[in-house]
Subunit: 214 residues, 2 copies
Amino acid sequence: MTASDRPTKRLQTRRQNEQAILEAAEKVFAEAGFGGATMQLIADMAGLPKANLHYYFATKEELYRKVVSRIFEIWLHAADTFDNAPGPVEGIGAYIDAKMDISRRHPFGSKVWASEVMHGAPVIQDYLETTLRDWTAGRIAAIQRWIDEGRLAPVDPRHLLYMIWATTQHYADFGHQIETLNAGNPLSEKQWAAAKESVKKIILRGIGATGFPA
Amino acid sequence: MTASDRPTKRLQTRRQNEQAILEAAEKVFAEAGFGGATMQLIADMAGLPKANLHYYFATKEELYRKVVSRIFEIWLHAADTFDNAPGPVEGIGAYIDAKMDISRRHPFGSKVWASEVMHGAPVIQDYLETTLRDWTAGRIAAIQRWIDEGRLAPVDPRHLLYMIWATTQHYADFGHQIETLNAGNPLSEKQWAAAKESVKKIILRGIGATGFPA
DNA sequence: TCGTTTTCTGACCGTATGGTCAGGGTTGAG
DNA sequence: CTCAACCCTGACCATACGGTCAGAAAACGA
């Protein structure tokens, strides 16, 4: 057993602190925006002195970049469901499920991403131009194949993707509005399930997914 | 003719300046967020000294509130199409058209609204709880009526509305991402039209709107 | 135990921000 | 023409921010 394998107290603390900082930062960035977020607030929320933040993350930008990257990774993995599907109903259905789950469990991350893109993606433009562009091209091809096979109505795959992204993320990004329109209460377990089903039903029927019950 | 009817030079200048400030503010707030926006930048963009801004709008918050209110008004009027429609295809179709047009012509406003809601609506919470809540209840009732008449599939009107909001606003709020995925170019006239048609087709078919061609 | 490396933190700094204000300029009614 | 009301602005202020740093404290290998 080498020294690096054993989780020394140092390494353990480091990981704990980094994790605490990242979680606090995600929340603060989501709630206040990059400009409105302060290192002091993040530090307080993470339970650390401000100077300690700068020990782990040199600048505010660097911390922010890490936060955005994390979310992007989660989103990418969520799309795995897409690939191993026998058909559009299962593939797209599972993708919508996965994205709805992410909206529920990572609302802060979704908001940070939305904010970043809305401000012109100053920090993650490279991701958009490489990873996301490639990913999108692949899924569009997959959807087009289904259309060519007659398993979907001839819709523009690109706009279908945008609709899925927009709708699923709406439940995170506009969660406050939805909550307000739900008599001020967060969606219950049942309501989340109903939302999922509604979204899937409308979209799957909307693209004429073969085998989807009318 | 009373004095207030004649547009004196004073009134004219006042209106011009207020307009210039509001437009500049909308853009700056959209691009930098409330926290990231500075009065100096807004002043420069409006072509006025910073102190002049504070003559017209006492505080940054007051200016921001005016900006958000303006957008809200535009959105409310866009929904008029909904009411005078003979059926769901015309009503919802026209509503989607109107919202897509707003996304195209007022992308900054849409972003400011999105940002405000994402941050918990600290400034316009009262709008959400009064005007928006009432508006939503009315449209939900209208959609439910169509469903009861058998002119729509039995979908949850609430989630249908959310989907329309999310999708149409996505083209404004995530315009930068869409542009990047469009080889870096803004959507052309034709592409906007295609987007509109795609959105309408999927949603109208998705809710089984009677008379909508499969 | 000892010396070294890593981790931590209170105090501090330069800067930029929102907002103020005194005073000068302009407009328009009488 | 006069004068009061309104409009404009350079200079200024207090505050809060991101970031720095010297040095204390803790952890570690030997």
